[in-house]
């Protein structure tokens, strides 16, 4: 604990050894370690995504390994140098989600239509790299807006910063971090299917005979609770949105006979599923879009101010101005990446005209900017990313712009999915960087220089695994011998199949976007996005986060703000890191045991 008067410490203790030279920040060891860790994680996480349907952020793993290598082995690593290492590693690894959620769909659709398998790897690599760069450049003005002005929490960013700062945070905070880690790790382990000591889904509907369309359920996740603890009162609109959707709107719709209904014993479960998938979730996607657009309008003066200050910073040589990246990089980078998308779309398939390729590149770029904003905002407020919903809209838009060209749609889907993910990832790392005092320009430059590596690694792994099937095809997908069912790819393939039949919930998107935009009039930052996200997600996930928010509010009232920073933040960070790391190690361990 801090003493009441820090001056009492002055001159006491033994002399410290001041390291010679400049403070270590962007160094060769940090770059090499980050790139290597990122590439390894990309390969491993692509496999994991094909097997399980999800990936994990590599930030915490990279930060912990960074301690071991930079501080432990090389003996001279600094906190900020480790921040650069984890920024690079997670930036490279971002491609694992972007690629494995989209590209496998093309292979799976190709099983039914041979012509779809007749595509080249290079346009996909070009599009994926372009998407990576777009995600990084879009963050340039958004960093100021979201981190400095809106003060979004980015719970994972706080968790990583807490981890990075742990060498100097004192024994008490280290114990709290470790305690949180252990609690989350033990709970996560005990809920694994093979161990089965505890169930992470707490559903009480059956106990009280409450129908399934009024879910009284919490998906207990210490990462979600930790995110809620770090968000506090600011996360309440999210919880409110979920409760409104599922405890008021859903039963009202059933009561008024607006919900689908069939005469079967499990009609309530059918209604819950039909309302979620076909009614409330698409409305939530629309609301996310409308809320984000309204947010851009509301924040326009601040965004303009951010761009102005970035432009003036670029004109200042040295001094504090040089901490910010120039807006020229934003404009030139966006133009170059859009051009790369145009070329990729043109060469990927012969069926796309020059005009269509240009339209795809422009629409893809505009959508990436908006969706990147949405995903970064949602991640900043809740740590939950609506990546799949935004990618679905991307594929839908491009599908119609390209006259229903599946290869072109997935190509742009790959670029946009990577770009959107890059926005959220980069913003989380910049938040961590802000909290440890990294210079944003340097973080962004290393991200520029290295994060593209993930795209060819992930695409290469996908091609390699696909070729492992009989006759060199079918290495993954439902029923494949490898056991890699590629659930996200399969989901996107079925969506594309629906699009081919013209099945798009257009009215829900329009209604949701209008409501989200209307909510933007309320002077509460990001409320449209938060309420939309709550409708997009199952209530059980929202409630776990809400539990954290409410506990944080109570603790803040009883213990004060300073206690929150010194006690609650390390515990919550331990929760997030504990669950992420335990899940990852358990999965990898299981794969290794299975392989042996």
């Amino acid at each position: 604990m801090a003493t009441p008067n820090p001056s009492e410490h002055r001159g006491k203790g033994s002399p410290i050894k001041v390291p010679p030279g400049a403070y270590r920040e962007v160094t060769i060891p940090a770059i090499v370690l980050g790139a290597l860790l990122g590439a390894f994680m990309t390969a491993a996480f692509v496999y994991m995504a094909l097997k399980l349907g999800f990936t994990l952020s590599g930030s915490t793993v990279a930060a912990i390994l960074g301690f071991g290598v930079l501080r432990g082995v090389l003996k001279n690593g600094t906190i900020i140098e480790n921040n650069i290492n984890q920024t690079i590693a997670s930036g490279v690894n971002n491609a694992s989600a972007g690629i494995s959620f989209t590209l496998p769909a093309l292979f799976l659709l190709g099983l039914k239509d041979d012509s779809l398998l007749n595509f080249d790897i290079w346009p996909f690599i070009l599009a994926a790299v372009a998407g990576t760069f777009m995600g990084v450049v879009l963050i340039i003005p958004l960093r100021k807006q979201m981190i400095e002005f809106e003060r979004l929490r980015f719970p994972s960013g706080i968790a990583v910063a807490t981890l990075l700062k742990s060498p100097g945070a004192g024994l008490r905070q280290a114990k709290l971090l470790f305690g949180g880690f252990i609690v989350a790790a033990l709970f996560t382990l005990s809920t694994q299917k093979e161990i089965g000591l505890l169930d992470h889904d707490l559903v009480v509907n059956g106990l009280f005979g409450i129908p399934a369309y009024i879910p009284i359920a919490v998906s207990i996740s210490f990462a979600s609770i930790g995110a809620g603890l770090l968000s506090g009162k600011g996360g309440l609109p999210f919880v409110f949105g979920g409760i409104l959707a599922w405890w008021i709107v859903a039963p009202a719709m059933v009561g008024m006979g607006w919900a689908p209904s069939i005469d079967v014993p499990d009609n309530d479960a059918f209604q819950a599923s039909a309302m979620y998938g076909g009614m409330i979730r698409p409305l939530g996607i629309g609301m996310l879009i409308g809320g984000a657009l309204a947010g851009v309008v509301a924040a326009f003066p601040a965004l303009r101010s951010a761009l102005k200050s970035l432009s003036s910073a670029a004109k200042v040589k040295g001094g504090k101005g040089s901490d910010e990246m120039s807006t020229k990089v934003l404009y030139v980078g966006l133009a170059a990446a859009a051009m790369a998308l145009f070329i990729a779309a043109l060469i990927a398939t012969q069926d796309v005209s020059v005009g269509q390729a240009a339209a795809m590149a422009i629409i893809g770029t505009v959508w990436l900017a908006l969706a990147g904003l949405i995903v970064a905002q949602a991640t900043g407020m809740t740590d939950i990313s609506p990546l799949s919903g935004m990618s679905l809209i991307a594929v839908t838009l491009i599908f119609f712009v390209s006259s229903q060209n599946v290869i072109a749609s997935i190509l742009l889907g790959v670029a946009i999915c990577i770009g959107i993910g890059q926005c959220a990832d980069m913003m989380t790392d910049l938040k961590a960087g802000h909290l440890v005092g990294s210079i944003p320009k340097r973080q962004q430059m290393v991200q520029f220089a290295v994060s593209w590596i993930g795209a060819p690694v992930a695409i290469g792994i996908i091609f390699l695994l696909w070729g492992q099937g009989p006759d060199g095809v079918g290495g993954f997908g439902p029923g494949s011998e490898s056991g890699l069912s590629a659930p996200q790819g399969e989901a996107l393939a079925s969506i594309i199949h629906s699009l081919q039949n013209g099945n798009v919930a257009i009215e829900k998107y329009i209604a949701g976007a209008s409501a989200g935009a209307a909510l933007g009039v309320l002077p509460i930052g990001g409320i449209g996005v938060l309420v939309g996200l709550a409708m997009y997600l199952p209530l059980a996930v929202t409630l776990a986060y809400g539990v954290g928010c409410i506990i944080a509010m109570i603790l803040q009232k009883t213990n004060g703000q300073a206690w929150m920073g010194s006690t609650l933040v390390p515990v919550a960070a331990g929760f997030i890191i504990g669950e992420a790391l335990t899940s990852l190690l358990y999965i990898l361990g299981k794969q290794l045991v299975g392989a042996a």
């Binding site: 801090a2 203790g13 400049a22 209604a511």
Partner: protein
């Protein structure tokens, strides 16, 4: 007034969400058919006679692959429902058995348009009322109110404290572990105390000077905050010179924020 406004917004969101999510009739029929198909076509596999009829009725045989059968006691009752739902939906004659976008839109609008617009109006009305409440609070609020945070005064106090810290650091030629604790704890005190209070009260700035004015203050303020964090990290890493420089940069940033705040205040008075 703000609480009433929020209640109106909440009611509006509920109404807009319920009416916005409502399906056109053919979409509901399609959903019902899909629900029945998944149950009827995956009904218990041991009823071979029923299975043959299911296939004859158009169920895809692959529907049984790797799917847990839904236990249904009476397949024939389900069959009646399924045949009826199938006939109802197919009667529309949609290509690919899919409800076209135009039909979805017009069907939804006919059923829910008025309610949806009413919901939107409530959201907008409530939000405007909330804004008005905010504006009147700002106009009527005094600088001596209980929740008022005097940011100018706080910024002056913070910069003074940090300047003392910087001077002490510059004068320390051989820093000790105690000096490191002194720097760390002083920074922690500033970050968790007055700076956290300024951040918590940032809405006060938005209400007084708008988003652009707020950004003019918070841009340099955040730069100062980041440099304080940098000073903390570098002193933990024993890099005394970097930490001293970062404190200097933090002071410059916070002075920039104070200057911007003073300018806005004088412009407002003028």
């Amino acid at each position: 007034m703000k609480n009433i406004a929020l209640i109106i917004v909440a009611l509006g969101v509920g109404l807009a969400a319920a009416s916005g999510a409502r399906n056109a009739d053919p979409v509901t029929q399609q959903d019902n058919l899909n629900g029945l198909t998944s149950r009827y076509c995956k009904a218990p596999a041991d009823l071979s006679a029923a299975r043959a009829k299911q296939v004859a009725n158009g169920c895809d045989e692959s529907a049984w692959d790797g799917v847990d059968a839904v236990p249904v006691a009476d397949v024939s009752a389900l069959e009646v429902q399924w045949v009826e739902a199938n006939a109802t939906f197919k009667a529309h004659g949609f290509a690919n058995d899919t409800v076209p976008a135009g039909t979805r839109l017009s069907g939804w609008w006919d059923k829910s348009g008025i309610l949806f617009v009413l919901g939107l109006a409530m959201i907008l009305g409530g939000a405007m009322l909330f804004r008005r409440g905010n504006a009147s609070e700002t106009a009527g609020g005094t600088d001596a109110g209980p929740k008022f945070v005097d940011m100018g005064d706080m910024l002056t106090r913070i910069t003074s404290e940090l300047k003392v810290l910087e001077t002490n650091m510059v004068q320390t030629s051989t820093p000790t572990t105690g000096d490191v604790d002194y720097v760390k704890e002083t920074i922690d005190g500033v970050l968790n105390g007055p700076m956290a209070a300024i951040i918590d009260a940032r809405d006060q700035l938005v209400q007084r000077y708008g988003m652009a004015g707020f950004a003019e203050v918070f841009g340099p303020f955040a730069g100062g905050e980041r440099n304080l964090n940098r000073a903390w990290s570098s002193v933990v890493d024993s890099h005394w010179p970097e930490s001293t420089a970062a404190i200097g940069n933090a002071v410059a940033g916070l002075e920039g924020a104070k200057a911007a705040l003073d300018q806005l205040a004088s412009a407002r008075k003028g």
